[in-house]
């Protein structure tokens, strides 16, 4: 019908689809899944970094880290709002998260045993996220695209902060340099896997690209990321843990080695370092906070009743009539 035609036109003209526009059920469903997974990733992603707030080694770093983790909560909230415009409740999404039925980015199932991990997460994980997300600022669905604009701005700030943490370590003592290198060794490959499996094994990508909610293939994004990392690693003075990395004049890109996709599927299947802890921490917080939320609801109800009653008593004639 008309709706479908308009939808196709919007896509063709690289315009935005808005909540009130007609859209195919599968488009809606895919977006809900993608946006809510992204929101969950922000929420769960607070934990690996939250782990160091109490131990940050300088007040400046403590402030930056607190602000960053808080930004992630904020991103989660925007994204939940964007998903809500597609007709799903936040409670429903959150419940999917804390009951383990929803996915979130597998990278957050790794742990942060050292302070340098605050650097690696910023530089590598946020770096990969940005490569993924910058194209999404042009996503066809309006509320999502706009949320991504705001998020990307903050993420690139976070990435720079991560880079600076590593830089400070690399300019520091032998122990600090070793801490940075060891951390980069752990995070490099998982960060590259954030773009998802190789294109050949990624069946959903075609449709998403047609819908303008995915702009580049997994492998394209991964290449872009590696091309960005290599010169930055040189500035830092860290070694990326892949001996196959070298400039390929012909391709105009850096070659890099194969990734261990068994590792990836292990973590995805729940057998990573911290899967068990992540969801249950958030669920525990939610359950321990149930009485607080109930109180807030009860209070709001009482206020609503009271103000209705006061409106009523302020206008007795109307009620009587």
């Amino acid at each position: 019908g008309d709706g479908r035609r308009r939808f196709e036109e919007l896509l063709a003209s690289e315009s935005r689809v808005e909540p009130t526009d007609w859209m195919p059920a599968a488009y809606r469903k895919t977006l809900i899944r993608q946006i809510s997974q992204h929101a969950h990733s922000e929420i769960i992603g607070m934990q690996p970094e939250g782990n160091w707030i109490t131990r940050a080694p300088s007040l400046k770093r403590k402030a930056i880290l607190m602000a960053k983790v808080q930004d992630e909560a904020g991103h989660g909230l925007y994204l939940y709002s964007a998903a809500q415009t597609l007709g799903i409740d936040r409670e429903e999404m959150f419940d999917q998260l804390i009951t383990g039925r929803a996915k979130y980015s597998s990278i957050f199932n790794y742990t942060t045993p050292t302070w340098a991990d605050m650097g690696s997460i910023g530089w590598l994980v946020d770096g990969a996220a940005i490569c993924n997300q910058v194209p999404l600022c042009r996503a066809s669905y309006g509320p999502y695209g706009r949320a991504m604009v705001r998020i990307c701005k903050e993420e690139s700030f976070h990435q720079r902060q991560g880079f600076e943490i590593l830089l400070a370590l690399m300019n520091g003592t032998e122990e600090q340099r070793a801490m940075a290198q060891e951390s980069v060794n752990r995070w490099y490959a998982p960060a590259l896997m954030m773009f998802g499996p190789p294109d050949a094994d990624s069946p959903n990508s075609q449709q998403s690209m047609a819908w303008n909610i995915k702009r580049f293939s997994n492998d394209e994004l991964r290449q872009r990321f590696v091309d960005m990392l290599v010169p930055q690693a040189e500035i830092l003075g860290v070694t990326l843990p892949d001996p196959a990395i070298r400039w390929n004049e012909e391709r105009g890109h850096y070659d890099f080695g194969d990734l261990d996709w068994t590792e990836f599927s292990e973590v995805l299947a729940g057998r990573g370092p911290a899967n068990a802890v992540r969801v249950s921490r958030r669920r525990t917080a939610h359950e321990n906070g149930a009485w607080v939320r109930e109180a807030a609801r009860a209070y709001a109800d009482k206020q609503a009743t009271a103000s209705a009653a006061s409106r009523a008593s302020a206008a007795p004639e109307k009620i009587a009539s």
Partner: protein, 260 residues
């Protein structure tokens, strides 16, 4: 001057210790909005702490990080309210309510300090504390008037934090016996701090007027538990501070003298 620095050190420790406690909530809050709100308040306080400690340290050529990470428990000068553990959300709200009323009065008055740095720090802080106070009051009402359970917990929270209210309005003091690391021992209260520091007596009166009203408006009872002895400004702390500092300082102390 050094007496001023000592004054700033105490205020800075108050803010730092409470900021750290609020940071402990992050990823554990009852809802995401509170992860954000408690984090925001913590960040504001951390900002105040950094300004105050930097200013204090400038008198002795020592940095905010030296002061934060390389003093021991008995060298911390925060009043004891701020170090109290988070407990449940109601405990945290009670602590924050008392803290915000105190900070609100303090920073408002401190804006008129004859010390321009302190006055400037206070001017910025005042606006932020305004929001903190509002946040606590809203939750005080919600929890006090919400459900039976929230009412009971909020009363427990108030009762638990009340003993540490008395100390908030006791006069500033000199250095603890034995001194403070990174702070030279020969600091004496020689100079008059007349126009520099805030007179606490009017703050106490304001507290005594505002807080009981807020508590009763929320359907709760003003606690009658006695005030604890206090002594935070002289480096005497409750048993909560030691383990908190162990965690806060562990990494910095493992690598003394480096840059992060």
């Amino acid at each position: 001057s050094e007496p001023v620095a000592l004054y700033a050190l105490g205020l800075g420790d108050d803010a730092l210790v409470l900021a750290h406690r609020l940071g402990e909530w992050i990823t554990h809050a009852p809802e995401l909005e509170e992860d954000v709100a408690l984090g925001n308040i913590g960040l504001d306080l951390l900002g105040h702490a950094r300004s105050l400690l930097t200013y204090a340290g400038s008198a002795w050529g020592t940095s905010e990080d030296d002061l934060a990470y390389f003093r021991g428990e008995s060298e911390f000068r925060n009043r004891q309210l701020f170090e109290q553990p988070n407990g449940d959300f109601a405990h945290t709200i009670a602590r924050q309510l008392f803290a915000s009323v105190y900070f609100d009065g303090l920073y408002r008055a401190l804006r008129r300090s004859t010390d321009p740095t302190l006055a400037a720090i206070a001017a910025k802080a005042t606006k932020e504390v305004d929001y903190h106070l509002d946040h606590s009051v809203q939750w005080l009402l919600r929890l006090g008037l919400g459900t039976e359970e929230s009412h009971r917990r909020m009363q427990r929270g108030l009762d638990a934090m009340w003993p540490f209210v008395g100390e908030l309005f006791r006069a500033e003091t000199g250095l603890p016996e034995g001194g403070v690391a990174h702070v030279p021992l020969d600091v004496t209260d020689g100079g008059t701090l007349g126009g520099v520091v805030v007179d606490l007596e009017p703050l106490r009166s304001a507290f005594d007027e505002i807080v009981p009203r807020l508590i009763t408006d929320a359907g709760l009872t003003v606690p009658t538990v006695p005030f604890a002895r206090g002594g935070g400004r002289e480096g005497r702390h409750t048993e909560a501070l030691g383990p908190m500092l162990a965690e806060m300082q562990v990494l910095a102390r493992a690598h003394p003298g480096v840059t992060w």
